[in-house]
C-alpha cells in the first residue's frame, strides 16, 4: 500500500512541470499540451484523495474532468488552427495585436 503522500508529491511535481513548461515554451501547441499535463496532475490528486477517504466522489469528478478536457481540447485546437490561418504562425510572439 503506497502512502497517499507520495501520490500527492508526484501530483505537485507534475503540476509544476506543466506550469514551467507553459511559461518557457513559445508555440501554442506545446503550451496546450502543458495545460493538459496540469489537468492530469489535478486528476492524480483527486484520485489519491478518493482512495485515502475511500469515497467514489473523487473518481466521478475525475471522470467529468476528462470529459470536459476532451471538449476543451476540441475547441482549443480549433482556435489554434484559426490563429494559424490568420497569422501563418503558431508562435505566441507573433500574436501580439493587442500589445500595441
Amino acid at each position: 500500500m503506497i502512502p497517499t503522500y507520495y501520490f500527492l508529491i508526484l501530483s505537485a511535481v507534475l503540476f509544476v512541470m506543466g506550469t514551467v513548461g507553459f511559461l518557457i515554451k513559445k508555440d501554442l501547441i506545446t503550451q496546450f499540451m502543458c495545460v493538459e499535463v496540469m489537468l492530469n496532475a489535478a486528476n492524480l490528486a483527486f484520485i489519491a484523495f478518493a482512495r485515502s477517504s475511500s469515497s467514489l466522489n473523487g473518481q466521478i469528478i475525475v471522470f467529468f474532468i476528462i470529459t470536459v478536457a476532451a471538449a476543451e481540447a476540441a475547441v482549443g485546437l480549433a482556435i489554434i488552427l484559426h490563429v494559424y490561418r490568420q497569422k501563418k504562425s503558431i508562435k505566441t510572439e507573433d500574436s501580439s495585436l493587442m500589445k500595441g
Binding site: A12, G21, N43, F63, A70, I79, L81, K91
Partner: protein, 165 residues
C-alpha cells in the same frame, strides 16, 4: 511490487514530460505526452481506480492525442518555427516553478503529513461507479452531454473557412 511499479511509472511519467518540454519538434512532444498519459493511467490503476485508468488511456492517450497529432499534421511546422528570440523568460519561470513546488510540498506536509491511515482495497469497481454515475450524478452527466454538443458545434464553426463575398 506495488512500490516498484509506482517508482517505475512515476519516473517514466516525469521523464517523458521533461522530454516533451525539451524537444523542439511538436510531433515528438505529442508522442512523449502519450507516454506520460499512459503512465498516469497506470498510476490510476495502482490507486484502485481501474475504470478511470481505462478511460484515461482511451480518451486521453487515444482520442485527445489523435486530435493533437491531426492539428500538428495540418500546421506547417517549418513555418511555425521562427528562431528563438527572448531567452530571458527561462530564468523567471524556473524561479516561479521552484517557489510553487516548495509551497505545494510545504502545504502537503502541513495538511496530512507522511504517516497516513490506510484505506480499503477495491473501491473503484466499474459496477459501483456506474451505479453512482447514473443515480447521484445523473444531472451532471446529462449536462456534460450538452457541453460536448456545444463544444462540437463550436469547434466546427471555428474551423469552417469563411466564404469570400
Amino acid at each position: 511490487m506495488a512500490v516498484f511499479l509506482f517508482i517505475l511509472l512515476s519516473l517514466t511519467c516525469i521523464g517523458s514530460i521533461l522530454g516533451m518540454i525539451l524537444s523542439k519538434n511538436q510531433a515528438h512532444s505529442a508522442l512523449y505526452l502519450i507516454l506520460a498519459f499512459v503512465c498516469t493511467g497506470g498510476l490510476f490503476g495502482l490507486m484502485s481506480a481501474p475504470f478511470i485508468a481505462v478511460v484515461q488511456i482511451i480518451i486521453y492517450a487515444g482520442a485527445i492525442m489523435v486530435l493533437f497529432i491531426f492539428v500538428i499534421m495540418m500546421i506547417d511546422i517549418r513555418k511555425g518555427f521562427s528562431p528563438e528570440r527572448k531567452k530571458w523568460i527561462l530564468y523567471p519561470s524556473l524561479g516561479i516553478g521552484l517557489v510553487l513546488i516548495i509551497e505545494l510540498i510545504f502545504i502537503l506536509n502541513n495538511a496530512l503529513g507522511p504517516s497516513e491511515a490506510k484505506a480499503a482495497g477495491t473501491i473503484g469497481s466499474p459496477k459501483i461507479l456506474g451505479k453512482i454515475l447514473f443515480t447521484k450524478y445523473l444531472y451532471p452527466f446529462e449536462i456534460t452531454s450538452v457541453l460536448i454538443i456545444a463544444a462540437l458545434v463550436g469547434a466546427l464553426v471555428l474551423v469552417k473557412k469563411k466564404e469570400e463575398k
